[in-house]
Symmetry: C2
Subunit: 96 residues, 2 copies
Protein backbone atom coordinates (compact mmCIF):
# COMPACT_ATOMS: atom_id res chain seq x y z
CA UNK A 1 0.00 0.00 0.00
CA UNK A 2 2.69 2.46 1.02
CA UNK A 3 4.80 1.49 -1.98
CA UNK A 4 1.94 2.18 -4.36
CA UNK A 5 1.47 5.54 -2.69
CA UNK A 6 5.22 6.16 -2.97
CA UNK A 7 5.19 5.35 -6.70
CA UNK A 8 2.27 7.70 -7.25
CA UNK A 9 4.02 10.52 -5.41
CA UNK A 10 7.22 9.88 -7.36
CA UNK A 11 5.33 10.04 -10.66
CA UNK A 12 3.85 13.36 -9.59
CA UNK A 13 7.33 14.56 -8.61
CA UNK A 14 8.72 13.63 -12.04
CA UNK A 15 5.84 15.53 -13.65
CA UNK A 16 6.54 18.62 -11.54
CA UNK A 17 10.28 18.36 -12.35
CA UNK A 18 9.46 18.46 -16.08
CA UNK A 19 7.15 21.44 -15.60
CA UNK A 20 9.92 23.27 -13.73
CA UNK A 21 12.36 22.34 -16.54
CA UNK A 22 10.03 23.84 -19.14
CA UNK A 23 9.56 27.07 -17.16
CA UNK A 24 13.28 27.48 -16.40
CA UNK A 25 14.05 27.17 -20.12
CA UNK A 26 11.18 29.52 -21.03
CA UNK A 27 12.61 31.97 -18.50
CA UNK A 28 16.05 31.66 -20.10
CA UNK A 29 14.58 32.50 -23.52
CA UNK A 30 12.95 35.63 -22.10
CA UNK A 31 16.23 36.66 -20.50
CA UNK A 32 17.97 36.15 -23.85
CA UNK A 33 15.40 38.40 -25.56
CA UNK A 34 15.84 41.05 -22.85
CA UNK A 35 19.62 40.76 -23.27
CA UNK A 36 19.36 41.40 -27.00
CA UNK A 37 17.34 44.58 -26.48
CA UNK A 38 19.69 45.82 -23.76
CA UNK A 39 22.65 44.99 -26.02
CA UNK A 40 21.22 47.29 -28.72
CA UNK A 41 20.68 50.00 -26.11
CA UNK A 42 24.26 49.57 -24.93
CA UNK A 43 22.96 48.83 -21.42
CA UNK A 44 24.82 46.56 -19.03
CA UNK A 45 23.06 43.22 -18.69
CA UNK A 46 23.24 42.73 -14.94
CA UNK A 47 20.85 45.00 -13.07
CA UNK A 48 20.96 44.52 -9.27
CA UNK A 49 17.93 46.78 -8.70
CA UNK A 50 15.81 44.73 -11.07
CA UNK A 51 17.11 41.50 -9.48
CA UNK A 52 16.11 42.76 -6.01
CA UNK A 53 12.65 43.70 -7.32
CA UNK A 54 12.20 40.19 -8.80
CA UNK A 55 13.23 38.53 -5.53
CA UNK A 56 10.88 40.79 -3.53
CA UNK A 57 7.95 39.89 -5.76
CA UNK A 58 8.79 36.19 -5.36
CA UNK A 59 9.01 36.26 -1.57
CA UNK A 60 5.83 38.38 -1.32
CA UNK A 61 4.00 35.55 -3.09
CA UNK A 62 5.63 32.73 -1.12
CA UNK A 63 3.15 30.50 0.71
CA UNK A 64 5.75 27.89 1.72
CA UNK A 65 6.79 25.28 2.64
CA UNK A 66 10.12 26.78 1.52
CA UNK A 67 11.35 29.73 3.54
CA UNK A 68 12.04 33.03 1.79
CA UNK A 69 15.79 32.70 2.37
CA UNK A 70 15.87 29.29 0.65
CA UNK A 71 13.86 30.58 -2.30
CA UNK A 72 16.09 33.64 -2.65
CA UNK A 73 19.16 31.38 -2.78
CA UNK A 74 17.56 29.06 -5.38
CA UNK A 75 16.35 31.93 -7.59
CA UNK A 76 19.75 33.65 -7.38
CA UNK A 77 21.27 30.46 -8.85
CA UNK A 78 18.67 30.52 -11.65
CA UNK A 79 19.36 34.22 -12.30
CA UNK A 80 23.12 33.59 -12.38
CA UNK A 81 22.77 30.72 -14.86
CA UNK A 82 20.54 32.89 -17.09
CA UNK A 83 23.04 35.72 -17.00
CA UNK A 84 25.84 33.35 -17.98
CA UNK A 85 23.72 32.25 -20.94
CA UNK A 86 23.37 35.92 -21.99
CA UNK A 87 27.11 36.33 -21.70
CA UNK A 88 27.67 33.31 -23.94
CA UNK A 89 25.33 34.89 -26.52
CA UNK A 90 27.29 38.12 -26.25
CA UNK A 91 30.62 36.37 -26.80
CA UNK A 92 29.21 34.49 -29.79
CA UNK A 93 27.92 37.79 -31.25
CA UNK A 94 31.38 39.30 -30.89
CA UNK A 95 32.93 36.33 -32.71
CA UNK A 96 30.63 36.57 -35.75
Amino acid sequence: MSNEQLDQLRNKLDQVNLEILELINKRAELVQEIGQIKEKQGAYRFDPVRERAMLDLITEHNNGPFENSTLEALFKEIFKASLELQEDDHRKALLV
Copy 2:
Protein backbone atom coordinates in the same frame (compact mmCIF):
# COMPACT_ATOMS: atom_id res chain seq x y z
CA MET B 1 9.46 51.33 -28.56
CA SER B 2 12.27 49.15 -27.16
CA ASN B 3 11.42 50.19 -23.63
CA GLU B 4 7.82 49.13 -24.07
CA GLN B 5 9.08 45.81 -25.39
CA LEU B 6 11.45 45.55 -22.42
CA ASP B 7 8.62 46.20 -19.96
CA GLN B 8 6.46 43.54 -21.61
CA LEU B 9 9.27 40.99 -21.45
CA ARG B 10 9.93 41.87 -17.81
CA ASN B 11 6.25 41.38 -16.95
CA LYS B 12 6.38 37.99 -18.62
CA LEU B 13 9.54 37.17 -16.68
CA ASP B 14 7.87 38.09 -13.38
CA GLN B 15 4.95 35.86 -14.31
CA VAL B 16 7.26 32.93 -15.09
CA ASN B 17 9.15 33.52 -11.81
CA LEU B 18 5.87 33.19 -9.88
CA GLU B 19 4.97 30.02 -11.78
CA ILE B 20 8.39 28.55 -10.92
CA LEU B 21 7.86 29.59 -7.28
CA GLU B 22 4.54 27.77 -7.16
CA LEU B 23 5.99 24.59 -8.70
CA ILE B 24 9.08 24.58 -6.47
CA ASN B 25 6.84 24.81 -3.39
CA LYS B 26 4.47 22.17 -4.79
CA ARG B 27 7.51 19.96 -5.35
CA ALA B 28 8.64 20.53 -1.75
CA GLU B 29 5.22 19.40 -0.48
CA LEU B 30 5.47 16.19 -2.50
CA VAL B 31 8.96 15.56 -1.12
CA GLN B 32 7.63 16.10 2.41
CA GLU B 33 4.86 13.51 1.78
CA ILE B 34 7.42 11.05 0.37
CA GLY B 35 9.63 11.69 3.39
CA GLN B 36 6.78 10.87 5.78
CA ILE B 37 6.13 7.52 4.07
CA LYS B 38 9.83 6.64 4.02
CA GLU B 39 10.07 7.66 7.67
CA LYS B 40 7.35 5.12 8.55
CA GLN B 41 9.16 2.47 6.49
CA GLY B 42 12.38 3.32 8.31
CA ALA B 43 14.03 4.07 4.94
CA TYR B 44 16.82 6.61 4.59
CA ARG B 45 15.56 9.78 2.94
CA PHE B 46 18.39 10.47 0.50
CA ASP B 47 18.36 8.04 -2.41
CA PRO B 48 21.18 8.70 -4.94
CA VAL B 49 19.78 6.18 -7.47
CA ARG B 50 16.40 7.92 -7.49
CA GLU B 51 18.13 11.34 -7.73
CA ARG B 52 20.13 10.13 -10.78
CA ALA B 53 16.93 8.80 -12.40
CA MET B 54 15.19 12.17 -11.87
CA LEU B 55 18.13 14.06 -13.40
CA ASP B 56 18.25 11.67 -16.39
CA LEU B 57 14.54 12.18 -17.06
CA ILE B 58 15.02 15.95 -16.87
CA THR B 59 17.98 16.08 -19.28
CA GLU B 60 16.23 13.66 -21.70
CA HIS B 61 13.42 16.23 -21.97
CA ASN B 62 15.68 19.26 -22.22
CA ASN B 63 15.14 21.33 -25.36
CA GLY B 64 17.37 24.22 -24.25
CA PRO B 65 18.50 26.94 -24.22
CA PHE B 66 20.05 25.74 -20.96
CA GLU B 67 22.64 23.02 -21.29
CA ASN B 68 22.16 19.72 -19.44
CA SER B 69 25.08 20.45 -17.11
CA THR B 70 23.52 23.77 -16.04
CA LEU B 71 20.13 22.16 -15.46
CA GLU B 72 21.67 19.34 -13.45
CA ALA B 73 23.42 21.88 -11.22
CA LEU B 74 20.20 23.90 -10.72
CA PHE B 75 18.07 20.85 -9.98
CA LYS B 76 20.66 19.47 -7.55
CA GLU B 77 20.29 22.73 -5.59
CA ILE B 78 16.51 22.30 -5.60
CA PHE B 79 16.86 18.65 -4.49
CA LYS B 80 19.25 19.64 -1.71
CA ALA B 81 16.91 22.35 -0.41
CA SER B 82 14.00 19.88 -0.43
CA LEU B 83 16.03 17.30 1.46
CA GLU B 84 16.94 19.91 4.08
CA LEU B 85 13.24 20.66 4.48
CA GLN B 86 12.59 16.92 5.09
CA GLU B 87 15.37 16.90 7.68
CA ASP B 88 13.78 19.88 9.46
CA ASP B 89 10.48 17.94 9.56
CA HIS B 90 12.33 14.94 10.95
CA ARG B 91 13.98 16.99 13.69
CA LYS B 92 10.64 18.58 14.61
CA ALA B 93 9.06 15.10 14.78
CA LEU B 94 11.79 13.96 17.15
CA LEU B 95 11.20 16.99 19.38
CA VAL B 96 7.47 16.37 19.76
